[in-house]
């Protein structure tokens, strides 16, 4: 049947049915298009996506205890977590620590890892490591270890070691969300005085919301002005929007540091104008952070609104006016609703980008204005706690990707434009 219908169709010069020939050509064209995109796709996957995958993996994978205390890990795997572990576990700890001394792997590394879970345990572990070297014979070691430090007689210590000896751990991710395991191995919310990350996430969202609102409030009127002015004037004024956009982020941040200093230009001007009697602190606090971030993000909010406004026919408002609407009514009921897609695009973009700010708050903010990115950097470089850095990064990445998905559905990446 199929061949019969095809046979009736038109054929090309070499006798192949046209339909098949066309399909082949289409397929070849599609493959060619894919071949053109493939190099960049692979490049992005290897240089960008894989590194991020490595980071995400670091958030759940930490083999340090399993590697540093192999015997203890093996014994504790059998232990049910009730009461104290058997004598074998105590002997394993002694053996692992002696082995660590021989191989010159620092016992401090064990202490550091366990310290993430029980603050203050690090010095006790190091002390134990030193004392264990003096222990002779084949045991039993239970009494000896508890004598060295009473923490070895506590069930929680052993539970923590058992939990951390698993290479795949949810500890860092739980910690990033301010959750932890209690002594009974149940997940619970951290007490308020230990719940540090929640505050940082809330602060990050707070700053981002404020910056987004500020850019909308400042950007909307200017976008409207630029969209309604004759092209010659608006092109000229557009330079004032685009020049900051093209200027190095560090230059703009430097400028704000210079301007907002207590002895700086803004303070001088405000005093000269008589608005202030005394110099006020404008930098290294929330004011400085919001001002500088708003300045940097303003074009990102303004430009999408502007390009949507450009497409709104001026006749709409004129029609509304001639039908008797007042100036504000016509604007609010006829013009404004048509700008909503632009507002959504601009604000969403600014909000997404604000969530990840690092450099600007680090330079013009105070300790209480540092956003989540700052702590990712801090845990990577200064604390060298990569698990924690990765877990915080994972939470930030998840939030960003969800918003990016919404942006894609709402605006579409194709519509992203510059200038």
């Amino acid at each position: 049947m199929v061949s019969a219908t095809v046979d009736q169709g038109v054929r090309t010069a070499d006798g192949v049915p046209l339909k098949i020939k066309l399909q082949r050509a289409e397929r070849a064209r599609k493959l060619k298009a894919i071949a053109l995109v493939l190099p960049l796709f692979l490049f992005i996957v290897i240089t960008f996506a894989v590194p991020i995958g490595v980071m995400l993996f670091n958030a759940i994978y930490d083999p340090s205890i399993a590697r540093l205390m192999p015997k203890t890990s093996a014994v504790l795997a059998e232990w049910d977590g009730q009461d104290l572990p058997p004598e074998a576990a105590f002997a394993a700890v002694v053996e692992d620590m002696k082995q660590a001394q021989i191989e010159k792997t620092p016992v401090a590394a064990i202490g550091k890892r366990l310290n993430y879970e029980i603050p203050g345990i690090r010095s006790k572990i190091i002390a134990t490591g030193r004392q264990v070297a003096k222990l002779e014979g084949t045991g039993p070691f239970k009494e000896a270890l508890i004598e060295i430090n009473p923490m070895w007689g506590e069930r929680e210590t052993w539970n923590v070691i058992k939990r951390s000896s698993a290479s795949y751990t949810d500890f860092y991710l739980l910690n990033a969300l301010d959750y932890r395991y209690n002594a009974d191995n149940h997940i619970q919310h951290r007490p308020a005085n230990q719940a540090v990350f929640q505050d940082i996430f809330i602060r990050t969202i707070e700053i981002s919301v404020m910056v987004t609102l500020a850019t909308l409030l400042l950007g909307f009127p200017v976008a409207y002005l630029l969209a309604t002015l004759p092209p010659k004037t608006s092109n000229l004024l557009m330079i004032m929007v685009l020049l900051p956009f093209w200027t190095s982020l560090l230059v703009r941040t430097t400028a704000w540091v210079v301007l907002l200093q207590t002895q700086g230009v803004v303070n001088d001007t405000l005093i000269w104008l008589g608005i202030l009697d005394d110099r006020v602190q404008l930098i290294f606090n929330r004011i400085g952070t919001i001002v500088a971030m708003t300045h940097i993000q303003l074009p990102f909010t303004l430009l999408p609104i502007f390009s949507v406004m450009k497409t709104i026919p001026t006749t709409h408002v004129r029609a509304a006016r001639s039908l008797g609407a007042g100036q504000f009514y016509a604007f609010w009921r006829v013009y404004f609703p048509q700008t909503v897609p632009g507002i959504a695009a601009g604000c969403l973009l600014t909000f997404i980008l604000s969530l990840g700010y690092y450099i600007t708050p680090a330079l013009v903010g105070g300790p209480k204005d540092q956003m989540i990115s700052y702590f990712v950097a801090l845990y990577t470089n200064r604390e060298v706690n990569w698990g924690m850095a990765s877990a915080l990064g994972a939470v930030l990445l998840a939030a960003t990707l969800v918003l990016y998905f919404v942006y894609n559905k709402l605006v579409g990446v194709d519509r992203m434009k510059f200038g």
Binding site: A33, L36, A255, G264, V413
Partner: protein, 275 residues
């Protein structure tokens, strides 16, 4: 948009208030840039007006210091390599993406654009872990690869936008007349999309030239770039030399902006889009 003759006094007042608000916002946008430039000519190491005189000492400082010049050199090397790599990869991909019925176009596009959206710190930390494993850390190639990943989204967006208005029958005509794919690209497509291509390249250059977070994570002191030098400068004690560097960078941004604007107009003319 002048005040119409029939405007009520309130509308008239609002018109001027509105203009004043806009003027204030535009001043807010441009003021930091305008204020910092004169300060770089201040003979005294202060950041206050009025200036007691005029001097080029901070520029002499900038051009006389090996630290700043090395930083400038590193920045230019990395940015030029990044531009070449990013423009090539980005343009090729944009050509593929702009073909009709590209499969799963929006998904592929959003993956290619994602380096622009993902917070730079996350990118930097991931690269720090991964590039250390494969031996790319503290090296120029590593930095160039990292910057290229960050810069290609701009090239893809700008070139794809340019290709939107491109008349594909032109390349089909060239093909029909017997031109090889390479010839079609270099003789027909490229001259027409050249303004967009250059704009994309400039975006890539600026992205790399400005980037500081990834540099802080994966570069050694040997690859100290201009932004890194400025960053540590602001962190410690702002020396007025930074204002000289900033002024030079503003000048650079102005040239970039002008070029891109001129190219955009030319591109619109070439593609027959009239305002």
């Amino acid at each position: 948009m002048a005040v119409p003759a029939y405007a009520t006094p309130i509308e008239r007042a609002w018109y001027y208030i509105f203009r004043a608000i806009c003027a204030a916002v535009l001043v807010f946008l441009i003021a930091p840039i305008l204020v910092i430039m004169p300060l770089s000519f201040n003979p005294e190491p202060y950041f206050t007006y009025p200036l007691p005189g005029f001097s080029l000492r901070w520029y002499e400082d900038f051009f006389g210091s090996a630290r700043w010049l090395d930083a400038l050199k590193s920045s230019v090397i990395v940015a030029v390599c990044t531009t070449i790599l990013a423009t090539t990869l980005g343009t090729t991909a944009a050509l593929g993406l702009s073909r009709a019925n590209f499969p799963a176009r929006s998904v592929v596009m959003s993956i290619l654009i994602s380096p622009m959206i993902v917070p730079v710190v996350i990118t930097a930390v991931g690269m720090y872990f991964f590039y250390a494993d494969v031996g790319l850390i503290n090296s120029y190639p590593g930095l160039v690869l990292a910057h290229t990943a960050l810069a290609t989204p701009f090239v893809v967006i700008v070139v794809t936008a340019t290709l939107m208005g491109f008349d594909h029958s032109l390349s089909r005509a060239a093909q029909g007349l017997g031109a090889k794919p390479m010839t079609v690209f270099f003789k027909v497509i490229m001259p027409l999309i050249l303004p967009g291509l250059i704009s994309g390249a400039l975006f890539a250059f600026v992205t790399s030239f400005d980037e500081v977070v990834v540099v802080l994570f994966i570069a050694s002191p040997e690859q100290r770039t201009l932004p890194k030098q400025m960053f540590s400068g602001i962190r410690e004690q702002i020396s007025p030399t930074i204002t000289a560097a900033a002024t030079l960078l503003i000048l650079f941004a102005t040239i970039m902006l002008t070029t891109v604007e001129l190219l955009r107009r030319r591109s619109e003319r070439l593609r027959g889009i009239r305002n």
